[in-house]
Chain length 465, copies 2
Amino acid sequence: MNAPRSVLVMNDENVYADAIGAGHGLQRAEVAALAGRVAEFHRALRAQRGADIGFPELPYDAALAGQVRTAADEIRARCDNFVVLGIGGSALGAIAVHGALNHPFHNLLPSGHAARRGAPRLFVLDNVDPALIAAFLDVVEPELDRTVFNVITKSGSTAETMSQFLMVRDLLRRRGLDPAERIVLTTDPDPKRSLLRRMAQDEGYAAFPVPANVGGRFSVLSAVGLLSAAVGGVDVDALLAGAAAMDQRCGTADLDANPAARYAAIQYLLDGKGKSISVLMPYSSALRRLADWYCQLWAESLGKRQDLAGHDVFVGPTPVASVGVTDQHSVMQLYQDGPFDKVITLVEVEDATLGGADVPICTGDSEEELAYLAQSTFGKLLAAELAATRCALRDKHRPNLTLRVPRVGPAVLGELFMFFEHAVACSGGLYGINPFDQPGVELGKVYTYGLMGREGYDAPRGAGV
Amino acid sequence: MNAPRSVLVMNDENVYADAIGAGHGLQRAEVAALAGRVAEFHRALRAQRGADIGFPELPYDAALAGQVRTAADEIRARCDNFVVLGIGGSALGAIAVHGALNHPFHNLLPSGHAARRGAPRLFVLDNVDPALIAAFLDVVEPELDRTVFNVITKSGSTAETMSQFLMVRDLLRRRGLDPAERIVLTTDPDPKRSLLRRMAQDEGYAAFPVPANVGGRFSVLSAVGLLSAAVGGVDVDALLAGAAAMDQRCGTADLDANPAARYAAIQYLLDGKGKSISVLMPYSSALRRLADWYCQLWAESLGKRQDLAGHDVFVGPTPVASVGVTDQHSVMQLYQDGPFDKVITLVEVEDATLGGADVPICTGDSEEELAYLAQSTFGKLLAAELAATRCALRDKHRPNLTLRVPRVGPAVLGELFMFFEHAVACSGGLYGINPFDQPGVELGKVYTYGLMGREGYDAPRGAGV
């Protein structure tokens, strides 16, 4: 693949003491001093790349991309609704792609509208809340014969997703529809590991793989995220090309050249200075869901118990999703005047318009007090508010970074995914934990099994149900 | 008003040392020891109630509720789209009400569908992102003559909302439609304070008041939140009655009888023990947006700089919105194995179904491994996961509370609003700050004015635009 150049620009000037003061800012030498450790983890990542660690290789799987495109074209031709059944890493990537690259009111547009790009309506059902499930059926059940479901669970046993699968399969059968024609699976390719894969074989479902060396939260650029993207009309080749461009930029451990490594080092150092809350605040409604994806990536990768020679240490910054300008009127008061426990990453989109056309605020006369708005555009107002927030945070000694991208598009989104994935992998090294497991959620699963009466599991004491 | 009984039950057993250990749990005596201070703030609140502090009186304004209902009926009869133009406290309440009490896919349902309750499509435009604005126009502009806009800004000068107002007024005029027939204002009743109120007089818009003693984040039970609720078909009398029930329950300073005061005391004490992140995690998709509302209420009210005899202190817990079961597959790893810096408030809905009908997972046979799911319902699975999470958090020494409500309905939502509002007011007293102002966001506003070229304002240094 002939990857395009990476276009993401990271501006970290407002994390340093010369911008925000020595009380809360870093010295550049502190970042530089991490170079040796970063180089060590970088070597380890390279050594495991393609073996234990699969995410950096995903952008280069042209064969998979071709299969996804072919399947998506076939699905688009025969459905009006495409539904992802998945949760966590099997949902958040799809939601982020959909939020960023499809029309914000995709499902409300008439099916022939140009902005729909010929795509069906898209749904991601990532909860088991019975009210949500019933409401979803209100909308989709009347069109069940024009609906395709993509069931995504790497393990093939996730309780939430498998219960949704059971419901949908049952519903299709009762309606006399063939589940094999309306369900596509995305799961571990090994039938010994995935019950769902065995069912694919037994019941004839089409199925895509989740590579064994790619965990859920790193899987957006595998079939997990790509199929719904392609069904929605997203250029998955551009998405992958952008990710590849960032991956190549992250091919060095040089902290001046590898922005993901530098981001990891800065975040790690600031956490060490008590800034344990990492806010991602895109100034773009379209990127709001990327921030949710980031929260899982950051929390599940870095929130870990470390066993240091029998002594437990509990680490991990807390990621928080925000969106500009909206949250200036919500949490910004706390970010600017509250405790010095945050680092804020702003995402700036140079051309924040839909397809290049900025929206004038007013074409006619206005009241004098409003002239400063009336003569401007929404794009300029958004840009001014971002710049104002960056300066206000700086002047209040609040560390902040800006990730600047030229626009929101598939290549840029691919870059952002790969940027954060490389950053979190590097962070895992700095924290001394394994960023690729999630042992902490096992207890809750075991308790759920017990409460659901699954054979071999006991309910927890005092559950009160 | 003959208020119904309050139905919210707070279970705080998992914040105490006997449940989660002395390392992270509270002693009950610590809570009891705050009784004197709580009683003092409670007296102050009662003294200012109806004077400086207006929020507790909102549920009792039957005259306003009647006016809102009448206006809503008239609006419902003549529009297919109802659009709130507002941001922060002028949007988050409406979004929370809509999310909780209307069908989750309200705008996708055919207009005649029973679950639409005869309501128009509902939109809340709470950003100035030009891509979002343009996309919104794609959807609404073709039906402009069947659209009503509710412009909400207490000050009557909020840049984001006024720019949207200018755009809409301009658009209506250019289309030959009378803005006075299609724009309803909600703003300060005093024309000396609100430019928008003066425009209401000059241009003939219908207008509702935001009481001077009610700030944006406390205004959901005023016309700010009630009009869109009523247009959506929500029973605003029940919403207010529920809020009144909780207000009356909060009429005592007794920490055993006033759950909001007890909640405030617990959160304050846990913050003092390093649990500075307050997560609100409803196990209900419908209440997800309530958590966003909570984030503004908590952050903007409590995130403050205190001047203690010339020495600045920066206080305020960081609120975080989560949703169960979804986030068990996202941030829960961090919540259970990461640093001990969080208190988690779970919201349990006893009957989580839509209208009382639980959804069976499967009506036929299933694979043996999935029998524990297939024979159950989504409601039971949700309840089991909530109980499992509560027990797992407890067993990992993580402080957590549960707010239990019988169902999601208008009275319950009213209770929850009033519960958190009373809790944050009491918290302000404990932190020694004014929970009703938001001075920290002024600098950003001034910088924005400067960057937009507003007369009398300078751009900040180094803004880079």
